[in-house]
């Protein structure tokens, strides 16, 4: 229940931001996708506004022309009255029908528009680079789908039609007034301007306190969250009283803001209503004086002395003019908020998407006995190859490598030698040979996290990256699959620059198991199948068996059909990790990245998970980032990172003998976190 509402409270400050220019136009371009519906709605609103106006004016005509003539007549002829009533009845029926039709049609326009915006937004979100998600809070992204679309919904379904209908009514009334008397109309307009200024002032004031209120709500909410989540600490330290005092204080602030915001919100209506009465009084007095003194008057209809009927009509019209104006000015805030929301949505949709200019593709091949002749096939063979486009001679990376110097040059050139390429040069066997040559990278380009890194991993090797938090371990793996792009240097994958590889294919070739396991709502089987969508149930179960996940899954209430919710919250951390490993196993990629996959599991469970991972790692190039060093002992190569530089490299025995950083980490005399 909370998800829907919680972000709204933190979003308050942004809600009052001004919309960027062009937002309205863009929003309406979505709305106008429903052209004919909008056209019919516009017509219907005009018709129903007209019938409402007719209802207001009808009475006077009825009395003057159809009732009064009958008074005193001995044998009144009801026929004209009946005809008139029948006509009105028809008009009302048309009006009612029109009001129903637009209310009915607007639903589709409104919901369709929202659905289109929502779907576009989500589709665009899928294409955004990881960087976007790093720099934009999850809560903010979530609230695009909740608050911002919600205010938009209200605006499209209520505020826009209501404003339009109000403006139509007001304009109709104004036209009628102008017809009767231009001076009176001008006076009314001036008065209306004053009214709008006053209402705007109140609405702005109320908006200001509204923002304050949202801010205070945010404060109270985060305090409650902190206090409730930390209640054990509160109790252990007998801190209830002090915490309560703190809460009362924040709550009092919320009360101050909330009562002011609501006060201003509540008085808008009385102000609009009573200003309308004032106008009425002033017009009545002026009209009375004009009528008595026989002032000349001019309207679009012509000029002449002000008649009694005209004065009464003007008074009635002033009511039908000022009421919708009041409504429009009260809707204004709603529309501003909706536009601000829309501009946030559009801003997200304008975020540049992940670039993908690689042309090298991943294909399945059969390898001949000579070891380098490859035939592309459409089924799984256990062998993959990088396939170059027809115009790619495969020398781009080599050319880049030639420009390097020293060790980097050696490492880069060696890549080409190690690569197994078919005779025509179009296919290169995927082996998992990864090389970094003079790579420099920073999440913020001016603050590099990795400096001039050069290293290589031989095919089939288990590479371990260790080092304290912030040393740049995860960064390295993020660069291989191009979650981020490097600023300088080259990353070669089987001798091919990763930039030249088609991104989906690059990622297909790299399985990944992360420390923070993310599972999706659905059955256990669905979650494993996420690794390869066309995997059969048997494939998934086989993968689970391979990775030691099978036994615990069978113990779940419904086995593989158990539905996981909220990120698999019913499972232990170790169990969740096992599922994510099975997911990677079913994808069966040529290379793997295991990023701190066992760090939040106790040592006993870790053994089970570790075995599962060991099975998975067999025969694949694997990059392991480990928290507990016991898990990297059997790695072929261990690289110790410190502040983005490789400070030690070797296998476990070598590094222990070296008695350097690794030795210290391993014996627990350096803090890892």
């Amino acid at each position: 229940m909370s998800k829907r509402n919680v972000p709204s409270q933190t979003k308050g400050l942004q809600a009052m931001q001004k919309a960027t220019p062009g937002t309205t136009k863009r929003l309406f371009s979505y709305i106008f996708e429903y052209k004919w519906q909008v056209a019919v709605i516009v017509i219907c609103i005009i018709v129903s506004a007209a019938s409402q106006a007719a209802a207001a004016l009808f009475l006077q005509t009825l009395i003057d022309q159809y009732i009064l003539p009958l008074v005193g007549v001995t044998n009144p002829d009801w026929k004209p009255l009946i005809i008139m009533l029948t006509v009105m009845c028809c008009l009302y029926l048309v009006g009612t029908f029109a009001s129903w039709l637009w209310s009915w049609l607007v639903v589709k326009v409104e919901q369709g528009t929202l659905k289109n915006i929502r779907d576009h937004m989500f589709a665009h979100q899928q294409l955004l680079p990881i960087r976007y998600f790093d720099s934009n809070g999850h809560g903010d992204t979530m609230s695009l789908y909740t608050n911002d679309t919600d205010t938009l919904r209200q605006a499209i379904s209520q505020s826009f039609p209501q404003m339009f209908s109000s403006i139509v009514s007001a304009l109709a009334a104004l036209a009628a007034m102008l017809w009767l008397s231009i001076p009176f109309s001008l006076f009314t307009l001036v008065f209306t301007a004053v009214l709008i200024v006053i209402v705007r002032r109140i609405v702005t004031r109320s908006g200001m306190y509204f923002v304050k209120q949202q801010h205070a709500i945010g404060q109270v909410n985060s305090f409650v969250e902190e206090a409730v989540n930390g209640q054990k600490v509160v109790k252990v330290f007998n801190h209830e009283e002090a915490t309560a005092q703190d809460f009362y204080r924040r709550n009092e602030e919320l009360f101050e803001a909330s009562s002011k915001a609501n006060t201003y919100g509540n008085i808008t209506m009385p102000v609009v209503g009573n200003m309308g009465y004032m106008l009425y009084i002033i017009l009545a007095i002026l009209g009375g004086i004009a009528g008595i003194l026989g002032w000349n008057d001019f309207g679009l209809a012509g000029s002449g002395p002000l008649t009694l009927g005209a004065i009464i009509a003007l008074l009635t019209l002033s009511r039908s003019f000022i009421n919708p104006i009041g409504q429009v000015s009260m809707q204004f805030n709603m529309v501003m908020m909706a536009l601000a929301g829309a501009s946030r949505i559009f801003a997200m949709m304008d975020e540049p998407i992940e670039s993908n200019d690689g042309s090298v593709q991943l294909v399945c091949v059969e390898v001949d006995s000579d070891g380098h002749t490859m035939h592309e096939v459409d089924h799984e063979t256990g062998h993959w190859a990088w396939k170059r486009a027809a115009d790619d001679d495969g020398t781009r990376s080599l050319a880049a490598a030639a420009k390097l110097k020293g060790a980097a040059r050696q490492v880069a050139l060696k890549a080409k030698e190690e690569a197994i390429t078919s005779a025509d040069g179009r296919y290169t066997l995927v082996q998992g040979d990864v090389r970094f040559t003079d790579v420099t990278f920073g999440y913020n380009p001016s603050k590099p996290v990795l400096h001039d890194i050069t290293w290589f991993a031989k095919p089939g090797q288990k590479m371990a990256l260790v080092g304290a938090t912030g040393a740049g371990k995860t960064t390295i793996t993020n660069l291989i699959n191009r979650f981020y792009d490097i600023q300088e240097g080259q990353i070669l994958y089987d001798g091919i620059d990763v930039k030249n590889i088609n991104k989906p294919d690059l990622r297909r070739s790299l399985g990944i198991v992360l420390q923070d396991v993310n599972l999706f709502t659905g059955t256990v089987l669905d979650n494993i199948r996420y690794g390869r969508l066309n995997a059969t149930d048997e494939d998934c179960i086989a993968a689970a068996k391979l990775t030691n996940a099978d036994s615990f899954i069978r113990m779940l209430p419904k086995g593989y059909q158990t539905v996981l919710e909220r990120d698999g919250s019913g499972l232990s951390q170790g169990q969740r990790q096992l599922i994510s490993i099975a997911r990677a196993a079913v994808a069966d990629p040529p290379a793997m990245i295991l990023d701190e996959a066992t760090s939040s599991i106790d040592t006993r469970t870790e053994e089970v998970v570790q075995k599962g991972m060991d099975n998975l790692m067999k025969g694949r190039t694997t990059f392991v980032i480990a928290h507990r060093l016991s898990t990297v002992r059997n790695a072929d190569v261990i690289m110790v990172l410190d502040h983005g530089r490789i400070i030690e490299r070797g296998n476990h025995e070598e590094l222990i003998a070296q008695k350097g950083e690794y030795y210290q980490l391993y014996t627990g005399s350096l803090e890892l976190e």
Partner: protein, 605 residues
Amino acid sequence: MTDTAEETGVVVRNQTSQPRHLISTLLRSLRQYTKASLLAPAYVCVESILEIAIPTVMAALIDYGVSAQSMPNIVKFGLILFACSLLSLFSGFMSGKYAAIASSGFAKNLRNDLFDKVQSFSFTNIDRFSTGSIITRLTTDVTNLQNAYQMIIRIGVRAPIMVIVAWLFSFRISHSISMIFLFVIPILGFGLIGLSVWVHPIFEKIFHTYDNLNNVVEENVQGIRVVKSYNREEFEDKKFGRISMSIYRAFCRAEHILSFTVPLLNFCIYAVLLLISWMGAQQIVASGNNAAHGLTTGDLTALVTYTLQILMAMNMISMIVVMIIISQASAERIYQVLVEESTVCNPEHPRMTVVDGSVHFDHVSFRYSDSSEKPVLDDINLDIASGQTIGIVGGTGSAKSSLVQLIARLYDVSEGSLKVGGFDVRDYDLEVLRDQVSMVLQKNILFSGTIADNLRWGNPHASDEEIRHACALAEADSFIQEFPNKYNTYIEQGGSNVSGGQRQRLCIARALLKKPKILILDDSTSAVDTKTDQLIRRAFREEIPSTTKIIISQRVASVEEADMIVVMDSGRILNCGNHKQLLETCEEYRSIYVSQTRNQDQEEE
């Protein structure tokens, strides 16, 4: 798929709750805002009566002033109208202000009451509601109720008054015509409320689907790396598209039903207008437009105004009904918290001193909920003498944390008895007990505030010297001194700006400041390097020898030197003894030890 929308309240919602009791319980939180809560409707009454009276005066202004071309009458009725509208403006101001104060104040008191209540809860209570649900109740639910309350004391008063007074006015003018309203009001009322009631379950469903949509977005955003590394962008698009489509359909259905409300209202207004016109015309003709004989044209105009007022007010009433239906769930959820009795409370004549730090478990069993089948702790017997150091080891799920939480009475035992200092923990004053039993929890929580603020939780009156001493014991002083603001360094919410190891050491220092008789460390040095860990333990031994120290740890090294080590496995004590004994007698202990000491072997090679 189980019902996520209800996950928060489903356990308690099924309990019986009488609505009357519910309302009176909630209203108890009005307190100092009772006056505002009464004033607001009072001013609303004035406002609504004026709203009906003003059109009458307007009619008079036209009839006797403008039409009669009588300047004095124009001025006279103008002034009356002016006074009325000033009074109406004033009442509008006052009612708006008092309604805002009353509703915000009501919400404030509710939040305070809820907070107090939650503070008094035991963890059994909290587990019953779940923390997430408690937070929702304290925030969203209260806000919902605040809005509903404000609407009820303003529009909920205004609309019925308008209907009744306008009807009385119309009755005064013409008995027969006023009967039309008696006929139309129920039709419109049933129609509008019927539509809302019909549509309500669809909206419930929509909100539920909305939760699913949010869930998909949330999972997508959180798992974006997984999505990207498996190239599941299109798959996610389709998944989202399906839910997006079902929201579209459900919303369309609901709003299509609701699209009948405006036409229904219009239809009723128009029907009444036509009926009034017809009947009015006949009556006017019959009376000869003479007030003495019956209906006049002025009366007819007034009747039309009343029609609009009555029917618009009916529309407001239907809105209120919807609002009440929606807020009912929130009211119930708040009520459940307010009436919940804490399961851990002080005895009548509590013991105010804890003699020593001895702990005695006597056939203790414990389950988190009475209904759970398997106990979390099963028949625990354990004797800890004052001043001993006890180590507890065991895998995840072996209930180590549950065991120690009983000592500070965070939970009550289900069976058996637990004695601290020779007396059952339930005999002590809670505050006294918890002052003497200091726990460093597994989930180390620091609160936003300076380091010193956080440490003073242990002892609000601690001097700077005492704080430094405690930090020195916990090996925290050295890194605190490195911060530019030292002890005044600000800790962000959740302590995110200090490392895990630093956080743990701060939490230990905080616990030490209490100078407790029993100190419990629940896996609280896991992120601290082994050397520092050792230094902390040595400090314990030398500086607080008389304090009973209970240390839960994953690392055998952290408990190796303890007087007694307890090996736990799925809620039972598997074995007890010192390090040497256990190595000989306990297979489980040996295997944990071996798996962790391979390091040292390697080191010696």
